[in-house]
């Protein structure tokens, strides 16, 4: 009975709606609502999440006119003869559709309900051939092709400021404009001593010497900072520093992982290729092309083939349970690494089904997989570690090339399962960029490779690809500032974060492309901006922080803890041991405490450290063994190497203090520094001064000096019988304290 009453109520409601609609328009002919503008958005937003795709809910597919007219399990849903009895309308008016989610009603607002009613009563006109695509637009629960990151890149106009004092370049205008709206002022410019330490760590990864700091601080010329920046950008150590950032993204390691963890011969050549690319300011489009298709370029060379090592850096299992299944794991690795690194899209989530959040179809995954399908995906001899033969590759490098020009077709896998092949999928690009979506050409006659990667790489770097330049400038910004303009560097999709300054991101991306994709120009722009040069301390900091603790408005510089490699290099710099001589070459095996080797396989126990003279090379050159990453580095948040990592964690936990307090490597540095100082400085206060200069790059204040002298005396009395003599050990203790202090660990 209740049901009948409800039904009567519903019919009344429909009648009311229809009547209301009818009176609102001319009685003779209700003007149909515009399908594109008024109806399609309702269907896309409210219905297609379930009523589309391979297995639409209730077998009702609302994407095309014929499928909508056909109806579903409950029969037709659009009744063109008696439109007000259309099931579609009844379900919607009942509030039954769309169904509630998480207990919350998702019933249509009246205006949309009315619009649907009006559309149905006017004959439900559907433009011929128009197929709705659930990926066209974003809804509450997933992103469509209207995502910010997929919109064509347009160069925004640089905002004008009311107050243009202390503005270096357009970056500042973009940052300053919203600050002006809030009535906020940026922090004052950092002092020169702070600035040189900041910019040198940033660009080279180790601190300036006391002498360099003083020279810069006392340089009377107005372009002192510009000259400093140019000197640092030209330094060969710049590439060492910035290569490390990219190596995280590239999941760089030098062994295969898994049980046997075999070394990947020549992996270091890829690392050196990145260092050189950074140093030579290789245009970013070329940087992409060589890594994805260095072997397919018109004129490949040892260097470009080395770059394809990018595709070989993932883990590799020499004993997979199911070799056929393992092919698809390897494909997933290259698809994931490529789409993450260059496009910040999680394409791999579409291996089993259409992406749940982003406009990535399952076929997109297989299109991309097909691009790599011609490569050494099939299990080969163990010695090749999943790579092509040296003969095929042409060089003694860790590289990638196709095994032939025409691989067998690749099938979409239902639910991603190898034993459930679906239709054949042709190689292609991601359909999320319709303007650039076109079939790939077959390889030209005589080609040894399929040329699929070359075509895919060209798509990646096409200036009309909305992602590539945005993703890269965002990464560069993040490595300078600690956070990207979009704070999810590896995810520009629906679940990623929208940029804090979208126009600045687009402006920088346009600059990159228009400037011929050179990155050093971008670095220069960024580090010369006042935004970069401001102090980490703002006089109104506490007030601003209450509203914007995350510094999303860039009202001050972010103080940052040293990353693992910079910390190790800084310790070696302070002790004077850092060997900056050779850029590149095979990696060295660091000394690892015996207790860290316990519990490892017998093979790992045979870890033989490289000779002492190699131990002082930069941390970049530490052998990256997946089964045994340097405990020093991992304690300070060096990431796992299995997956690409665009942003490291920064943790703050007691094990880090234990490393710096007790690790033999750190003690070796403090003692080495003490020995050097003792040879030059007889007086305790002179020794203290030297210790401050070498570790912190400044002179101690008088109270610090006095405390240090007292510390030396007291410790010397404790170390009466110690090896090396009490004075040395006391001084080592002082140096050790400085190597542990916050001022040393943080960059302002």
């Amino acid at each position: 009975m209740f049901g009948a009453r409800l039904s009567a109520f519903r019919n009344g409601m429909i009648a009311l709606i229809v009547a209301a609609t009818a009176t609102a328009v001319t009685p003779t002919q209700a003007a149909p609502p515009d399908f594109e503008r008024e109806v399609a958005p309702i269907l896309l937003n409210r219905c297609l999440e379930c009523h589309s795709g391979g297995e639409p809910a209730g077998d009702l597919d609302l994407t095309t006119e014929p499928s909508a007219l056909k109806g579903g399990q409950s029969g037709p849903v659009i009744d063109r003869d008696r439109p007000d009895e259309s099931l579609l309308l009844q379900r919607v008016v009942d509030g039954e559709m769309p169904p509630p989610k998480h207990g919350k009603s998702r019933a249509l607002p009246a205006v949309e309900r009315d619009r649907l009613a009006r559309w149905l009563t006017s004959g439900s006109p559907w433009p011929a051939g128009r197929a709705l695509d659930p990926f066209e637009v974003s809804t509450e629960s997933h992103g469509g092709r209207d995502l910010w990151s997929l919109q064509p890149l347009r160069r925004p106009v640089v905002p004008s400021l009311r107050e243009s004092a202390n503005v270096s370049n357009s970056i500042d205008a973009f940052i300053r404009a919203p600050l002006e709206v809030k009535g906020w002022t940026p922090a004052p410019t950092a002092d020169r001593r702070t600035l040189i330490r900041r910019v040198q760590y940033d660009l080279l990864g180790f601190p300036p010497s006391f002498e360099e700091i003083e020279a810069f601080a006392n340089d009377p010329s107005t372009d002192a900072y510009e000259r400093l920046v140019d000197r640092l950008l030209a330094s060969p150590h710049f590439g060492e520093r910035w290569a490390r950032h990219w190596l995280d993204v590239a999941r760089y390691a030098e062994t295969s992982g898994y049980e046997r963890d075999q070394p990947k011969p020549h992996a270091w050549k890829y690392r050196d290729w990145v260092v050189q690319a950074m140093n030579q300011d290789m245009p970013f489009d070329q940087f992409v092309m060589e890594q994805l298709a260095g072997d397919e370029l018109p004129e490949p060379s040892e260097s470009t083939v080395t770059a394809t090592g990018f595709l070989r850096l993932g883990t590799w299992n020499d004993e997979p349970n199911d070799p056929n299944e393992y092919k698809y794991e390897r494909l997933e690795d290259v698809v994931h690494a490529t789409s993450t690194a260059f496009l910040a899209m999680t394409v791999k989530c579409a291996r089993c089904h259409d992406h749940k959040f982003d406009p990535i179809r399952q076929t997109d995954y297989y299109r991309m997989a097909a691009v790599f399908w011609a490569g050494p995906i099939e299990p080969g001899p163990r010695e090749l570690l999943g790579g092509p033969t040296r003969e095929l590759l042409g060089y003694d490098v860790l590289g990638w090339t196709d095994l032939g020009p025409r691989p067998s077709p690749i099938h979409l896998l239902k639910k991603g399962e190898p034993h459930r092949p679906g239709p054949v999928v042709e190689p292609g690009q991601l359909s999320m960029v319709p303007a650039l979506d076109r079939p790939m050409d077959p390889p030209p006659p005589g080609s040894k490779t399929s040329k699929r990667r070359l075509q895919f790489a060209r798509w990646v770097v096409d200036p009309a690809n909305p992602l590539t330049a945005r993703v890269w400038v965002n990464r560069v910004w993040q490595w300078h500032f600690g956070q990207g303009l979009a704070r999810s560097p590896d995810n520009f999709g629906f679940n990623g974060e929208r940029p804090t300054h979208p126009e600045l991101l687009d402006w920088l991306a346009s600059e990159l492309i228009e400037g011929g994709w050179t990155t050093k120009r971008l670095h220069r722009l960024i580090v010369l901006s006042q935004t970069y040069r401001q102090s980490s301390i703002h006089p109104r900091g506490p007030e601003y922080a209450r509203e914007d603790a995350g510094n999303r408005a860039y009202w001050r510089a972010e103080r940052r803890r040293l990353d693992a490699e910079s910390l190790r290099d800084a310790l070696l710099t302070a002790s004077g041991a850092l060997d900056r001589g050779a850029i590149g070459g095979p990696s060295f095996l660091p000394e690892i405490a015996p207790d860290a080797l316990e519990g490892l396989s017998m093979k790992d126990k045979a870890w033989t450290p490289s000779p002492p003279e190699e131990q002082s090379r930069r941390a970049l050159y530490i052998h990256s063994k997946r089964g045994l990453l340097s405990p020093f580095l991992t304690t300070f948040d060096v990431p796992d190497t299995t997956l690409p990592c665009g942003q490291r964690d920064v943790t703050l936990v007691p094990p880090q203090a234990l490393v710096l307090l007790n690790d033999a490597f750190v003690h070796a540095q403090s003692e080495r520094l003490a020995r050097a100082i003792l040879n030059e400085e007889p007086s305790p206060s002179g020794q203290a001064r030297q210790a401050w200069r070498r570790v912190l790059g400044r002179d101690p204040r008088p109270d610090e000096s006095a405390a240090a002298v007292a510390h030396l005396a007291e410790q010397a009395s404790r170390f009466a019988d110690g090896p090396g003599g009490p004075r040395l050990l006391a001084l080592a203790s002082l140096c050790h304290v400085l190597m542990n202090c916050n001022e040393f660990l943080y960059v302002d």
Binding site: R420, A545, D649, L652, L658, H711, H736, N742, L745
Partner: protein, 480 residues
């Protein structure tokens, strides 16, 4: 006196002197206040101070510590905790209701009864799967909730919901809230310890024990799954004892001066705290992590004599040793997605149970026999359960289900031998006495003497809290 005795006596001295060192820190702070008094008044900006000293909760607590046995991936409740005769009867028939799948395209509507038998256990007669004989042996001490619900079908979001109160990311986890509110009874060990699995960390990574926007001091400290569980616990011999204490005092002095020029920066002060703690951990952590002094009977209890349970059992035993020593919150993880049985469930589920069932039950038994269970909450569960239908016909599995799943709790004020709530006849949705993630969190806070509506942290843009203004109820029926 042997050299070792001497060393030990120095260690003891070192331990004892730590209290003095704290006193000296306090004195330094007071002196600084005196000094500052002469300075011109600064704008009145409260500079909150954060520490891990034990704090009394506003209401009398039932629990003082918690061990979360964190089964990331989503154990199948219908195969472990929630018997469904109707489901078994309609095995392989089509399910006619609506199901929210993780992905509709993959789903099958074919019901899949549990291949495992259920039996009653304890005097309470709790029905549990044959895969959980260990849990059966402690059923009378356990509260089993069969009506958990987060309602978000993804791992990450559901983990966030249970751990942080909301499905959104980067929020503080429960362990961070407890240590923020209550500090730690141990000043010698990290207040919030995480024992990770050798098979990798859970799918959300370090976010699983993040302090979110609470001060960094309250983040979880990972204890490595293999030796050395905490590295670098020994200073070089010549620095042991007084010389290192002098170093630490001097370091503290330098850091404090540095912090004066960087007011209000909680990461700087958190880093200083890590040194205070690290120094004390040098003596206490090794002892806490060393199970060598445990009796053979205890080792056997946790299954440390058996290769299958040895690894997980060792971590459960370490968890007990940690709470015994005053650690507030311990998370014992299984590996990344270890319970995410989309396929091969008949092989993979029993394997996981063999690994964790006995040690988890041993933990409850052992805490009880030591009189610690009354004040220690033990939690066992993951972020979801599984669907009653087949996901993968070639290699049977079950898809995600966060609309109804089970977890169990013991100790700390939870009622023993009690089953709460129910799912529908298929185990699909929680239908009776539903416990949401916010209810669950509010109940836990309540047992610790905390109130979910008043425990807040002043953050920019307003106070933040664990439950964050969402509906939440202390589920008193769960409590003894």
């Amino acid at each position: 006196m042997t050299a070792d005795d001497l060393l030990n006596s120095t260690r003891r001295h070192f331990l004892a002197s730590q209290g003095m060192s704290l006193g000296s820190l306090a004195l330094a702070w007071l002196l600084h206040q005196d000094h500052a008094r002469g300075a011109p008044p600064k704008p009145s900006l409260e500079r909150p101070h954060y520490d891990l000293k034990p704090k009394a909760p506003p209401a009398p607590p039932r629990a003082s510590s918690m061990i979360a046995l964190w089964m990331q991936g989503g154990p199948s409740h219908i195969d472990l905790f929630d018997p469904k005769p109707e489901l078994n009867r309609r095995h392989l028939q089509n399910f006619e209701g609506e199901i929210k799948y993780d992905n509709a395209g993959q789903a099958s509507a074919k019901l899949f009864g549990s291949p495992w038998k259920f039996q009653r256990h304890g005097s309470c007669g709790m029905e549990l799967s044959e895969l959980l004989p260990g849990l059966g042996s402690v059923a009378d001490d356990v509260t089993l909730i069969r009506s958990m619900k987060t309602g978000v079908n993804n791992h990450g979001q559901s983990i966030s919901a249970l751990n942080t109160g909301r499905v959104t990311r980067y929020r503080p986890t429960l362990g961070s809230w407890l240590t923020y509110a209550l500090g730690s009874e141990s000043q010698n060990l990290p207040a919030y310890c995480v024992l990770t699995d050798p098979g990798g960390i859970p799918v959300l990574g370090v976010e699983t024990w993040s302090s979110g926007w609470l001060p960094s001091l309250y983040q979880g400290t990972v204890i490595r799954p293999k030796e050395p569980r905490i590295a670098n616990l020994d200073p070089p011999p010549r620095f042991r004892g007084t010389p290192q204490r002098r170093q630490l005092d001097f370091l503290d002095q330098i850091n404090r001066e540095h912090m004066e020029s960087h007011p209000g920066e909680t990461d700087l002060s958190a880093r200083v705290s890590t040194y205070e703690l690290a120094a004390r951990m040098q003596t206490s952590a090794k002892e806490a992590l060393d199970i060598g002094s445990e009796s053979p009977a205890t080792l056997k209890l946790y299954g440390i004599d058996d290769p299958v349970t040895r690894e997980y059992g060792t971590r459960c035993l370490i968890a007990r040793r940690l709470v015994e020593r005053g650690v507030r919150f311990v998370q014992v993880c299984t590996g990344n997605q270890d319970w995410d049985h989309h396929g091969a469930i008949t092989k993979r589920l029993p394997a996981m149970c063999r690994k964790v069932d006995k040690p988890g039950a041993a933990l409850v038994f052992d805490l009880k026999q030591r009189g610690l269970l009354d004040e220690t909450v033990v939690f066992w569960g993951g972020e979801m359960g599984r669907l009653p239908v087949v996901q993968n016909e070639q290699s049977i599995g079950r898809d995600h289900n966060t609309h109804g799943f089970s977890v169990w709790l013991a100790g700390g004020g939870f009622k023993g031998g009690y089953v709460h709530g129910a799912t529908d006849e298929f185990g699909h949705k929680a239908v009776h006495d539903v416990v949401t993630h916010t209810d669950y969190l509010a109940t836990l806070l309540h047992l610790f003497g905390l109130d979910h509506s008043t425990l807040t942290f002043n953050r920019p843009g307003g106070a933040g809290s664990l439950v964050d203004g969402q509906p939440a109820r202390v589920v008193r029926e769960l409590l003894s």
